[in-house]
Subunit: 184 residues, 2 copies
């Protein structure tokens, strides 16, 4: 792992231990020998799934996002359980959020969402060859989502009008542009 | 603004007011009438700049990211000052981090980085027709960055080997793929 300009921890203070995130404040030794402060949000990490139907549509969910105080359209996603392999989380979250399984899961890319203040990473998977699960596991009880299947053209429209704008879903739409233009 | 499945705030507790982030814990009324808890990180928002040189290279910076405990390669970026227009921040951060100005700034897209727990958005700009600034403003005193100019091919390599993996820079590389393939 590249440690250029490393900031060595001098001391670490736990500000908050929450249900999903923890918050820490570290004193660090900067590369010039001075001391600095770093505020850090610890997150368990997550997966995002790009589910593509047989006719080339993207399955997305609309849900309210309290931090943004609005609902947005996103690819299915969910947090890793402690010790859980991301590929396992991806299968679980696809089922819970969409009711689909996939015969073809392909790892695409891991993204760090906010490297300035958070350690959250999202592991992205492409899911193809989808099939309906008869009695799918339900989402978490405080999750309310509406399912949609959208074409690349509709996804582009939703990026234009701002219904799609979270990073992982923007990446999903750009991926579709690059890999599905024959289906346009 | 779309309010489907709105979660109405019942009460809000401030957990932490920091230098860059604030943390809040809200009790909310869920769509089914039950009560839920939401942990929220407040961030001032940021810009990311995709600076493209005359020969089609991307200007990036390598820097240590304490939350990830490693250094990564990213497009130039920086936080909004209070009340600052993102377009102004973009000009300032490009100068501070790279020493370049740009005659051609084009707005690309705004991304929400972590809509599940944070309100951070990054406004992305393409910067072209670059020129060296003779005595550029310096970056913040606790910022240590190394400048690089990389081809699309080198950017793809860095995504493969994990030096590039933050969301805004992955989007920048995907944008290059779509818009600069004639220069490959």
């Amino acid at each position: 792992m590249n440690k250029k300009f490393e900031e060595v921890t001098i001391s670490s203070e736990t500000i908050y231990e929450g249900r999903i995130i923890d918050v820490k404040k570290d004193q660090v030794r900067l590369p010039n020998g001075k001391t600095g402060t770093r505020e850090l949000v610890k997150h368990p990490g997550a997966v995002g799934i790009i589910p593509i139907t047989a006719d080339g549509r993207l399955i997305v969910v609309e849900q309210y996002r309290k931090p943004l105080e609005r609902s947005i359209v996103e690819i299915p996603a969910g947090k890793l359980e402690p010790g859980e392999e991301p590929a396992v989380t991806a299968v679980r979250e696809l089922e819970e959020e969409t009711g689909y399984g996939a015969n073809d899961f392909t790892y695409l890319q891991t993204i760090a969402t906010s490297p300035g203040f958070a350690d959250e990473v999202i592991h992205l998977y492409i899911a193809k060859d989808l099939y309906k699960i008869e009695q799918p596991a339900s989402p978490d009880e405080d999750e309310f989502v509406e399912l949609m299947e959208i074409s690349l053209e509709e996804a582009e429209e939703m990026m234009q009008d701002g219904r799609i704008y979270d990073a992982k879903t923007v990446i999903a739409v750009m991926w579709m542009r690059q890999n599905m233009s024959v289906n346009k």
